[in-house]
Symmetry: D2
Subunit: 358 residues, 4 copies
Amino acid sequence: MKIGIVTGGGDCPGLNAVIRAVAKAATKRGWETLGIIGSFQGLLPPQNYRVLDYKALDGLLVRGGTILGTANRGIFSVKTGHGQTRQLPESLLAETRRGMETLGLSALVAVGGDGTLTIAHQMHQFGIPIVGVPKTIDNDLAATAVTFGFDSAVACATDALDRLHTTAESHGRVMVLEVMGRYAGWIAICAGIAGGADVILIPEIPFRYESICAAIAERERIGKHFTLVTVAEGARPVGGDYVSAGGDTAQREARLGGIGAVVASEIEKRTGKETRVVVLGHLQRGGSPTNMDRVLCTLFGAKAVDLIAQGRFGEMVTHTGTSVESVPLSEAVSRLRTVPPDGAFVQAARALGISLGD
Amino acid sequence: MKIGIVTGGGDCPGLNAVIRAVAKAATKRGWETLGIIGSFQGLLPPQNYRVLDYKALDGLLVRGGTILGTANRGIFSVKTGHGQTRQLPESLLAETRRGMETLGLSALVAVGGDGTLTIAHQMHQFGIPIVGVPKTIDNDLAATAVTFGFDSAVACATDALDRLHTTAESHGRVMVLEVMGRYAGWIAICAGIAGGADVILIPEIPFRYESICAAIAERERIGKHFTLVTVAEGARPVGGDYVSAGGDTAQREARLGGIGAVVASEIEKRTGKETRVVVLGHLQRGGSPTNMDRVLCTLFGAKAVDLIAQGRFGEMVTHTGTSVESVPLSEAVSRLRTVPPDGAFVQAARALGISLGD
Amino acid sequence: MKIGIVTGGGDCPGLNAVIRAVAKAATKRGWETLGIIGSFQGLLPPQNYRVLDYKALDGLLVRGGTILGTANRGIFSVKTGHGQTRQLPESLLAETRRGMETLGLSALVAVGGDGTLTIAHQMHQFGIPIVGVPKTIDNDLAATAVTFGFDSAVACATDALDRLHTTAESHGRVMVLEVMGRYAGWIAICAGIAGGADVILIPEIPFRYESICAAIAERERIGKHFTLVTVAEGARPVGGDYVSAGGDTAQREARLGGIGAVVASEIEKRTGKETRVVVLGHLQRGGSPTNMDRVLCTLFGAKAVDLIAQGRFGEMVTHTGTSVESVPLSEAVSRLRTVPPDGAFVQAARALGISLGD
Amino acid sequence: MKIGIVTGGGDCPGLNAVIRAVAKAATKRGWETLGIIGSFQGLLPPQNYRVLDYKALDGLLVRGGTILGTANRGIFSVKTGHGQTRQLPESLLAETRRGMETLGLSALVAVGGDGTLTIAHQMHQFGIPIVGVPKTIDNDLAATAVTFGFDSAVACATDALDRLHTTAESHGRVMVLEVMGRYAGWIAICAGIAGGADVILIPEIPFRYESICAAIAERERIGKHFTLVTVAEGARPVGGDYVSAGGDTAQREARLGGIGAVVASEIEKRTGKETRVVVLGHLQRGGSPTNMDRVLCTLFGAKAVDLIAQGRFGEMVTHTGTSVESVPLSEAVSRLRTVPPDGAFVQAARALGISLGD
């Protein structure tokens, strides 16, 4: 028996660890594994793949990114913007199936985010034997309590806050760190708590500059002349726009960079304190996965092979918080898991005196 | 209002982060916090403590260990060996209460393992207003799904395996890493999976040297001339003794060091392969907590103050896997959470071809 | 006897380690040490300082930044822009001396960059007993072969390149990392070599976009579909301006951010390859110093106290590459040490096929 | 043109980075590079090697150990114990040359320590075109100011001390860390200074238990109830034997483990303070090289290829402290570089109040 594995969407730490786990678990069962290059595209002629024997897995556990490459766009795109989903044409699905037959693949493991899992779901409905492994560095998929890559991203952001802490303190500055999180503020709130941020801004809780400045003033009052602000890339002020104290509104982001730069600029203008911004960006996606992510990737990969062995196609691996299970792909896609504004994380942050900017 | 906090038992990463969270959450409520030095002993005359104002909390989040010190023994000892528990004399409990009154403390937070929590439980039964925060670096407390310090210890052990990997491969050696875990193999199995160990030995699954050697031989067969073995300090061979191929049994541990040294010596004798052992020991207890541990500590500390505010004394903070809750101290003590031999971790390990030595 | 220590200029890892070393070495000799807060300003009434006894030094070795704060501007400013130097008025120098007398200080250690050392030199000429410790994270001071903070900054930038490597490879992208180095490219070339950059742009060697694009094309040719570019903040294209392929020139930096963003934008325009930029910025200044920096700080601090004990005022600690010595402050200031375009680092980079963009 | 590269002796971080640099620099010149497997042995029939094309170098810069494997013993052994050197038989040297001819090699790069460089020297005298790259993790080779792997080993030991610091402080214990350094104490003194050790024991300065205990007592006096001791594996008490307070002398090392365990046991016996020992061992050899080591490896590899290009066989790459040069292999071997007891490192340690145990 021979199976294939594809990785899709933005890369994140642990993709290679999942690939390794799938290939090792398959090999243990006596199966062969092909790593399909360039996401689903690699299934189409001229097929592009590499055989994942033991030698090919060497060093994969600790290596960031994906040796199979990934694709955000192309003929398999199902996300058309504005949250709409496109149905892949039957001809493409049929060609995909023929590609699998050419390669002799009995089943496919698709590792990816909402887009990749939606493709996988459509393939399953078309009759292609496929299972899913969720990947969202933002940790914002409703169908699973936790995903790999997230802990590594939080570790990266926490390390950044540790670094900014000492330089902020030495210079008596406000430091703004922009982290990932377009729709969900998990990275911001976890890194913010772990890194000792004084203000945490997340998409789920629109903020007011007045509140941020009040938090900075309160810190001055107790003798702390520096402030650390963590802001998720998707955080927005109340009213949804980049409203400035000076009145100008519109194209500020385009001019100033992301929300981190806007917030820093606004704080400096309003408080008169030196304010600096750091945008972590792609640093969060790279690097070796943390131990927790490596364990999660291994559990996920082993479970995916287990699902195939049981013929449970159309399902996706999940973590319930205490164990690894599976759910139908149909339940998995297009449902976000955001930070509950009255949940334990926000409550703990508030209890410690961290401002959410509201 | 004024509260006190004590830390007891062996130290682990995150104790200071809990202290900080408790003091910050208390300050936010307008309370004062005293850090009691040297565990419960510091409550007795001459009282030994430090005021935990904002200044005192500076840098605590990232600092390993406990600024309050800790005590494993002394007049508050309730563990008499062989798993038996001693009831503290009423005179001592009364003196403790008087000490609290002298300091003006309305409540106490006790952070510690089974011993400390048992003391806390007895104090609660005596009428002392106390809440508990569980600490077990081995992650082996039944009443909570996860405890702080554990992720940091696993991170330390995983890093060690990453290091041993390359030197083992370069020299074609067997490398044995001994990690913590007297009764539960959580650190061994998590670090073993995360660090790519080929053999993982845990207290829950007695091992056979024949199986270990077979795993090494199987690796040679596929061209891997090195093997990584992770062994929990509490792992034992089938039969429970350090049986040697040469027939000598008894005092081997005393002579050779811990189980890691015994296993290494036995592997070298049986396979003829160069085998080296590293005992991580106290390295696992020290150092800055990981981001995950820092978050957990903060949630735990905030929750402990919340319990006090609600007058829910005699309870202990817990993590259910998805949220932070509390349970009676009586349920918390003396019940171990071990690695299920048929659970997801062991299954995933076996699925990938990792030997459990059985 | 009592001595004072001030830290000035931009902060960098290791300042606290120097403070600790000076205070410990002074204490060993039976002297008292005052840490002056807010640079030289803290010597003036109302004096601002803290006593650096053993307790105050707790944890300083590993802590980034400076507990004494720092000041880039103010009445002690001697740098007037365009490389010009201002002579401090006698009245200010006299007031400084009176401040020292008020505090009972017999000597001063000044830790800082070109500005701080120039002030120190003027103070020495005025008769104030002072010695200097050089600080330049860019490693660009001619009077010393190496300075503290530099290795930590390179470590931070190297870690960033390691992270960007895997994400660049997964997505087949060009990744541009902007690092510090206004006049000297030491951080860029060391981190670039250590992090496996394919293109390194430094202030000392003006670059051409044609050369950068040729390097990217050459990598494509050998099957490497990603490229890592490290650019020092002070790097400039030949001709000295941000000349764009499209012809527009002037205010690009203001609009686009620093040189990193300009280079990334230009590469994407010319090659059509997805290109991303990360600006490390303040992350390089923060964090715990590396072991090498901690050793250097300790050697420097011990030497500074030694100079005072010998009455060798007006001198600055230096490292010759093999030992710690001292030179007159007059020799130390205003002389840059840049990367020799035909030196070992550039030669090694070229030998390995790394493009310098020329 | 085709060249070969061998790695010999104990592994250390950076070997792969040297291999990569040599192969990249050779490729840049249009040469081919063969990596010889299993040290010089791989040159003999049946030849064992791998072609080091670009693909083979993937990920090597950051990977610890050596992909070529290494050999400490075998028919090329020239060290016979007691510091004596054996001349390799002409027949073996001739066979080696024939092996090189069979593979089509015009020159050889030998990366290794004293043993490997001695072999290289004999090969050169026999007429084999060979150049050397020094490797000694202990940094104890007289012919070069610094070698790769050393900074990484110090980083590992410093991190261990950081970890032990907090646990020592929490429990009021003495912690002893044993690090590498058989004849030279460079790792011990650099890590000791960087990690804030209170006592540093090196082979160059015989120690007295009385002095160590006095240092511990002095710390108690100033309120520091814990002490960190760093001991090089080659450190010895005055008199050269493991003299115990109890009078028993001889086989203590055999029974107790290395010098670290002996020192810990003796301290506990004499002071009554809880004392723990950690032996870093192989952890120091593994792991990814630090940025400094990666730069050094790259400079060394590039220089080695340069020496070949210039036909300067029989020479070895060196670092003078400020630049990369070369010296004859004859000067390189069998000459140790130890820590000068009156040099800057020991002086700085003493200046800060660190005890050298004498």
